[in-house]
């Protein structure tokens, strides 16, 4: 479905269907997330440093602040041949691995990080694909399995499918804001053992698409569960910078693991993922992210490196951007003010807007007939449930699509608004959801929300006739 939408309406400026009169002049995409296309400004410090890295003649240009030039010089030196065009070692530039390790240790209040266990990759999905390939079985053996949350990020199914891994869902509890449920995990593992060889559990924190942020107690429960069942933890933490619910604190799985003491810290194996594409900076086009492996054999890490060597290591500009975004200018440095200005005035404002929008979306959606929505306190989606009448289900069945997909298709064709169908996030047997991104405050999106309202009412009224 996502492909259908994406292929028919790639961006706002694409023309509507030929020949069919439309009530809208352009499509508003509320389900895919490209912050800079929506007007979130890029960070000047990042742009300047990268530009100088690409064209080192600018190192002598005093129009660039001293710390810009110093940072660029350091980064250029960290590249082979002092050029951003050179191939790097397959797990990334050594200097950047160290800088990422510094960031993680700072973030987690001193938990030690080994730079050699950092693998820089071209975005989260590629890295996950590589890890799953590593962990998958070959033909003939019992199929390896991974416990996945339901709902799950919509690209996950394809990634696991490609790697030949069986995914066994554990349901998140919608009525508690999509929290994890230990009993449900236990039920899932029992089911899994009946049909495959479960070896890992995949978690999104903040949740995608749910927007749930786990508290420490919940994380501890999951870690204990994984330890008891000997499961490898695959933890998607790419949205860690966008926690917007008030009073909500995000803590990393690694920190919690460390705080649980040697019994767990020395035994539980984990891969955690972070990426540049998410977060309010949204540098999707630079393609960089990293994976940190904890308690994984050196031997296995060499395999990971081998796979990376022939898969896609991160392009150099993205690696450099990781350094800049994870280790921004400090208060004593010349670019600090400009950086903070951009971050505070633009990006944090957007965070505030996101909070507001998420609340407003939540209230608004709850006010619509047939919709109910849990609060989203992290990430970039709201994920309302929509109760579709029986006629709609029948029509969908006749058309050979899921009912929420039909809804989304009609919303797109009639109102020019693109939202995601919840069935892409896993089949919840008769319950339907939509996936919307409320992150931007542009007038177009406000308008789109109104359109969704009109459409919903219109849809339901149509059914009544």
């Amino acid at each position: 479905m996502y492909d259908y939408l994406q292929s028919n309406f790639s961006h706002d400026s694409s023309p509507p269907f030929q020949g069919v009169p439309k009530t809208f002049s352009r499509v508003v995409d509320l389900c895919s997330f490209d912050p800079q296309r929506e007007g979130v400004p890029p960070i000047t410090f990042l742009q300047q440093v990268l530009a100088v890295c690409f064209y080192p003649e600018l190192l002598s240009d005093e129009n660039f602040a001293l710390d810009v030039r110093q940072r660029a010089r350091r980064l250029i030196q960290s590249c082979e041949g002092s050029s951003v065009g050179c191939y790097t070692p397959s797990s990334g530039l050594v200097y950047i691995q160290h800088r990422i390790a510094e960031f993680i240790t700072r973030r987690d209040a001193g938990v030690p990080t080994d730079a050699h266990s950092i693998f820089i990759c071209s975005g989260f999905w590629r890295t996950l694909t590589m890890m799953t390939k590593l962990l998958s079985s070959s033909e003939g053996e019992p199929q390896n399995g991974v416990l996945v949350p339901l709902p799950y990020p919509h690209t996950l199914a394809m990634v696991l499918g490609l790697a030949g891994i069986r995914s066994v869902p554990y349901r998140l509890r919608e009525d508690t804001g999509w929290a994890m449920d230990l009993e449900e995990l236990q039920r899932a593992i029992r089911t899994a053992r009946g049909c495959c060889r479960p070896m890992a559990i995949f978690i999104s924190n903040p949740g995608n698409p749910t927007g749930h942020v786990q508290n420490r107690k919940s994380i501890e429960e999951v870690i204990k569960f994984a330890a008891a069942e000997k499961l490898f933890l695959l933890v998607n933490e790419v949205d860690q910078h966008s926690v917007h619910g008030s009073g909500i604190q995000w803590v990393s799985y690694k920190k919690v693991l460390f705080d649980m003491g040697p019994k767990y810290w020395e035994g539980v194996q984990m891969a955690s993922f972070h990426s540049l594409s998410n977060g309010l900076m949204g540098e999707c086009g630079l393609r960089a992210g990293y994976m940190e492996l904890v308690n994984v054999d050196k031997e296995v890490m060499i395999f990971a490196e081998t796979l990376l060597n022939m898969d896609i290591s991160s392009p150099v500009p993205g690696q450099l951007a990781l350094d800049i975004l994870l280790n921004p200018p400090q208060p004593s440095e010349p670019s600090y003010d400009l950086y903070t200005q951009v971050v505070e005035q633009e990006i944090l404002t957007n965070l505030a807007t996101l909070t507001e929008n998420a609340l407003r979306a939540h209230d608004f959606l709850n006010s619509l007939p047939g919709m109910s929505c849990q609060p989203a306190v992290g990430g970039f989606y709201v994920y309302p449930r929509v109760d579709l009448p029986a006629e709609v289900l029948e029509r969908a069945k006749a058309a050979g699509v899921e009912a929420d997909v039909l809804y989304c298709q009609e919303l797109l064709e009639e109102q020019g608004v693109c939202v995601g169908a919840g069935s892409e996030n896993g089949n919840t047997g008769g319950e339907y959801h939509l996936r919307l991104d409320p992150s931007s405050n542009t007038p177009t999106r406000k308008h789109a929300h109104t359109q969704t309202d009109r459409h919903m009412c219109h849809f339901l009224m149509e059914i009544k006739h």
């Binding site: 071209s122 999905w125 630079l286 060597n309």
Partner: protein, 464 residues
């Protein structure tokens, strides 16, 4: 608990490349130098892979200026940059949505794909190219394949492509290039390889590299026509890596694309042979391997296959900057534009440097016993053959090392020069080669040849 069992057997089967061990050795040596350990050399020179900017070549000024201006658009408004740089950056920036941080379409930004198809139509003197058949990629080293569970005839010697196939579940079936005849392809050898392939797998494709890497061989039109007839008769896909098409070294050598040859052969070949060709900004005069910009063109492929391919690469996420590098490479400056002369000079300089390096390298090799090399007409590598004395081979086996790796490891330790052992490139036991990148500055090449010459003479003496 041993985690070895966790690892996918397919992955465990990937050949461990000796180059990795050499790189680790080089890192150790560099650490020792940093800590003040005395060595007969001050630094490691790594020519084991094609990484031109690491060996003294300079990036193209125009492309770097354009990319820097796209990254930091304020440069477009300043007069620091020449006018043509600013204009190109402005146009490109508009097409990519105003920032290099935006998402790219999964198969590449439309204007990029148009640029590629325009370039191809120009290059192939009118053979049409449709942007619908163009896919932007991360560069020729990272082409996703649909070839799982199938066999691909793969040239030996070649870069570790075989490994990439194995990792995706395909079988790489070797066909041996002729090391006595300039590394050309023989159809008889292809037929032999195909017969043996059919006993173990379902071979569906033939992979060719032209200009050859690391062999330096540039195929003649006749040879290419033979290949096309072969794939037509055997109903194989033809997968052509043409990454080194930009710079030829051999006098009078010409590059023709497989697409052009195919088109000019006419029916039934031109309608039936399924051809996939790749190129990138990683090699040639750009040398921007770290930016990940390349393209793939499909000819005569079933539309349903193209759709499958589209879905497969939709997970990839293409970097914008790589596409910018590609665009500048394929859409060069015109005479009269402010940066044109400098651009042409830079390309000319690279060409001349390569020709000079090859000449010097042959001079040095001809003076050394026990080492010989086929002529180099293209590409960026040299692939000399080592005629190792028996004693050396015996010593290598005592140390449980492949003989060419044994040679490379000693070369690195004693002279700080890192080259790639031929066994990494698929060559069977019994012949020994080394591969070195010749896309280096003149001074670097002198130093490389000095170290290699000195070491080799001593080695041959020590093991005679």
């Amino acid at each position: 608990m041993s985690q070895h069992r966790l690892v996918n057997p397919l992955v465990r089967n990937i050949r461990a490349l000796k180059r990795g061990a050499l790189v680790r050795q080089a890192v150790r040596i560099e650490e020792e130098i940093k800590q003040g350990m005395k060595k007969p050399y001050n630094e490691v020179i790594d020519v084991s892979r094609d990484n031109p900017h690491a060996t003294g070549m300079k990036p193209m000024s125009f492309s770097r200026q354009v990319i820097a201006s796209c990254i930091y658009p304020e440069l477009i408004d300043s007069d620091k940059m020449p006018l043509d740089v600013r204009e190109r950056a402005k146009t490109l920036l508009e097409c990519i949505g105003g920032s290099v941080g935006c998402y790219s379409d999964t198969i590449g930004i439309p204007i990029m794909r148009d640029s590629v198809s325009d370039f191809l139509t120009r290059r192939d003197e009118g053979v049409p190219s449709a942007s619908g058949n163009i896919f932007i990629t991360h560069g020729s080293d990272h082409v996703p394949t649909l070839m799982q569970d199938s066999g691909v005839l793969t040239p030996v010697p070649s870069q570790d492509f075989g490994n990439a196939l194995v990792a995706s579940g395909a079988t790489a079936v070797p066909y041996y290039l002729d090391g006595q005849q300039g590394w050309r392809l023989h159809t008889e050898e292809l037929q032999r390889a195909l017969r043996s392939a059919r006993e173990v797998c379902d071979p569906i494709a033939l992979y060719v590299i032209n200009p050859g890497d690391p062999t330096g061989h540039v195929q003649s039109r006749e040879s290419m026509e033979e290949i096309i007839r072969f794939v037509y008769e055997e109903k194989l896909l033809l997968f052509a890596n043409e990454d080194h098409q930009d710079i030829l070294i051999g006098e009078g050598c010409m590059f023709i694309s497989y697409k052009k040859v195919l088109a000019e052969m006419g029916s039934p070949f031109s309608d039936a042979v399924e051809l996939a060709s790749i190129h990138s900004a990683s090699k040639g005069f750009m040398g921007e391997g770290g930016l990940h910009g390349g393209y793939l063109e499909l000819v005569n492929f079933d539309p349903s296959v193209q759709i499958e391919f589209d879905r497969l690469i939709s997970l990839l996420g293409l970097p914008i900057i790589g596409q910018l590098a590609l665009e500048v490479m394929l859409n060069p400056l015109q005479p009269g534009e402010p940066s044109y002369e400098q651009y042409q000079e830079e390309i000319q300089h690279i060409r001349e440097t390569l020709v000079h390096n090859v000449t010097r390298a042959f001079e040095v090799l001809d003076s050394l016993p026990g080492i010989s090399c086929e002529p180099i007409n293209g590409g960026a590598s040299m692939f000399p053959r080592l005629h190792l004395p028996h004693i050396a081979i015996h010593q290598a086996k005592e140390e449980e090392k492949l003989p060419d790796f044994f040679y490379c490891s000693r070369l690195l330790e004693q002279t700080g020069l890192c080259v790639c052992p031929g066994s990494d490139l698929g060559l069977p036991e019994g012949t020994y080669h080394i591969r070195l990148c010749i896309m280096t500055s003149v001074d670097t090449m002198e130093e490389v040849l000095r170290r290699l010459g000195k070491f080799h003479k001593q080695f041959m003496k020590d093991f005679s």
